[in-house]
Amino acid sequence: MIRHPRDRHSWNRAMSRREMIRLTGGAALSAAVLAACGGDDGGGSGTGLRIASPSDPATLPIPDDNAPIESGLEPEAGPLKIYNWDEYIWPKVVKEFAAEHGVDFEISTFYNMNEAVAKIKTGQVDFDVFFPTIDVVPKLAAAKLIQPLNHSYIPNLDKNVWPELADPWYDKGSRYTVPYTVYTTGIAWRTDMVDDDIAALDNPYDIFWDPRYRGKVGIYDSYRDAMNMVLLRNGITDINTDDPKDIELVKRDLVDMADKTSVRTTINGAYAKLPEGDFAIHQSWSGDIVAAPYYFPESNYGDPKGLLRFWWPENGKGEIGNDTIAIPKAAKNPVLAHLFLDFMLQNQEAIDNFSWVGYQPPIKAIDPDKLVKQQYVVPNLKEAIVRKEYFDSGYKALTLPPDVDAMWQDAWSDFKSGA
């Protein structure tokens, strides 16, 4: 599973070879996944599971017993139940929507995507709006846990959203999802605590192994993001690698990192703990660092906003990703939920929300060159602005085939145990 900017929890897990075989062998449902992941064989690795990728997009099937809602229905009476990462939506924006439709709302949060999917799978919860990562979308659709969208309620999708993400490779035709935010994964640091200009280093990633910053270095508690960074440090640009040698190298480097800098794995390190001075250097999603200046404890620093920097390769060759919004099948207020999706894609609302969460929406109305001047992004963090063209040059983390995923997680699990 691809980790997510607001994943609060970590977990490691190692799937045994046997479990993997049990998982991928037989069972009718895996056929559904295969179907969900697209047509003919190809791509992916030896297991026969076909993984969608930008060069090989997937159209998610819509089965008869999971049809979209009818057009032209009246919205329900609510309350609108939202299931999201913590602090990943501005409650004020939701409040506006609720006021507009005269309904109440509830925002429930989860720590990580696995926990969220587990809870939705119990069938005991009835959320109306859910924020899945792109890698679980095909699985959620195949298990009929999310419902297909009726686009007649969501005109803003075609009107306002970057065309590439209005018809994305992981869900052609946006049958089940609309895009929510885009982000890059780079390095953030405090200029008052770090002497080097990390951006000017030959290999900026090396900073995570610099013993001078022992105890003050953090990476995300998310195996894909952390390990992708190690791959990129070693010049391996296939961040979906299935080569055991690569993974072995990554594991060695991670353990080495723990030895050299006593690295901590966090989820709030970049946006909350960097401003508090708990970390000097932290791996960072662009959205985290854009929000970070607002997390400085007031009055301790003159103008604290200038103390933060962010680095992501200028040539656009770094990790990039995006998030989505979907409507669970069990939603009690599906019409309201559709209207909410549309609401979040309105220019002003999307930008308001951005100003609070720090994660940029893929909205055409946003001009990346003006974000600093419009004061959405502080000047020293302009590298954290996401540009459409980065989606062409950047590396994207795809769903890994189960055996490859197990290999990745084994390595991560060993690192996490502090062995």
């Binding site: 929890h9 479990e19 037989g26 298990a143 006593s262 690295v263 996490k416 145990s417």
Partner: protein
């Protein structure tokens, strides 16, 4: 003497009670509670077994329970065992957990025994106040008490500032950057009230005339303590240690809040990771839960046997 009394009571009961009458009342009183515990304590353990040895959901790779034991597949459980007793990463975590828990229990005893002793023996007028203070932590959320320490241990927090003022440190110590010491101290701080209470009860129960007799027979106060008080409070020491030791084995939030570094992760953290995983980790998590339950049960049974033996000795 106690045995004799019980004998006479039983005799009377037989002559006068219709044997079923009172027994029916008592078992009826016990029934709801026992039923509750069976349904919501015993059955869930079966569910864990059914899960650890069940199937995997083909789409999400989450565990699916198999209720029929005949169809159980122990592969995941075996995997965890071989990892624990081989040289896998889980073994490292297990050893670390034992070290942390052991250190925290010993530290708690060293800190807590004098406190319990003082209150029970010399509490005097302040006794009620001391007892209230002793109980006070029970009214403040454990997590809040941990969070309080997180704040105190920041670089510019009070602890560093005080230590620098009195000259013990010349620059802020990095308490929260993955330090085993911090985690052990945190565990001690969090659990010690649970140890002091039973210890206090045991010490308070000791008959003071026994001690006076020891002193009259010429024992110094120190040897009276060593030879009388300490042995008589052994039960309290054991009870207090067990009552904090076992929950500590399942703790994950203390290292999470106070460190967050892989090098301080405990077995509870591993379970937390695995269980909160919707892919294959669920089975591994359930298996680890079983391992932990076995460990706890062994310690618990050992404790109960000691208690029973002590009771027998006291009676004879």
């Amino acid at each position: 003497m106690r045995g004799a009394r019980r004998g006479s009571r039983a005799g009377r009961g037989q002559t006068r009670d219709a044997p079923g009458e009172a027994g029916g009342l008592w078992s009826a009183l016990a029934a709801p509670g026992l039923l509750w515990l069976v349904l919501l304590f015993v059955v869930p353990f079966y569910a864990i077994l059914a899960l650890a040895m069940g199937r995997l959901d083909p789409i999400f790779a989450t565990p699916v329970p198999v209720w029929n034991p005949v169809e159980w597949d122990p592969a995941a459980l075996q995997g965890v065992f071989s990892d624990l007793f081989g040289d896998g990463a889980l073994r490292v975590v297990m050893v670390r957990t034992f070290l942390y828990v052991f250190s925290a229990v010993v530290l708690s005893l060293l800190i807590g025994y004098p406190v319990a002793y003082y209150i029970s023996r010399h509490g005097g007028r302040a006794k009620v106040l001391l007892l209230v203070l002793l109980i006070a932590p029970f009214w403040i959320s454990y997590l809040m008490r941990m969070l309080a320490w997180v704040n105190l241990l920041q670089d510019e927090g009070y602890v560093n500032r005080v230590l620098m003022t009195i000259g013990l440190l010349d620059r802020p110590r990095d308490w929260l950057g993955g330090s085993s010491l911090t985690v052990v101290l945190g565990l001690t701080y969090g659990y010690i009230p649970f140890l002091i209470l039973p210890l206090y009860a045991a010490l308070d129960r000791i008959d003071k005339s026994v001690l006076e007799a020891a002193r009259d027979l010429g024992a110094s106060s120190f040897s009276a303590f060593l030879r009388v008080t300490l042995p008589l409070s052994r039960q309290g020491i054991l009870a207090g240690s067990v009552i904090i030791l076992l929950p500590m084995f399942g703790d994950y939030y203390t290292p999470d809040l106070l460190s967050g570094a892989p090098r301080t992760s405990m077995i509870g953290n591993q379970i937390d990771f695995f269980v909160h995983t919707s892919s294959g980790g669920g089975q591994k998590g359930a298996s680890l839960v079983i391992v932990l339950s076995l460990l706890v049960s062994v310690l618990m049974v050992y404790y109960l046997l000691t208690v029973a033996r002590a009771a027998r000795e006291a009676r004879s």
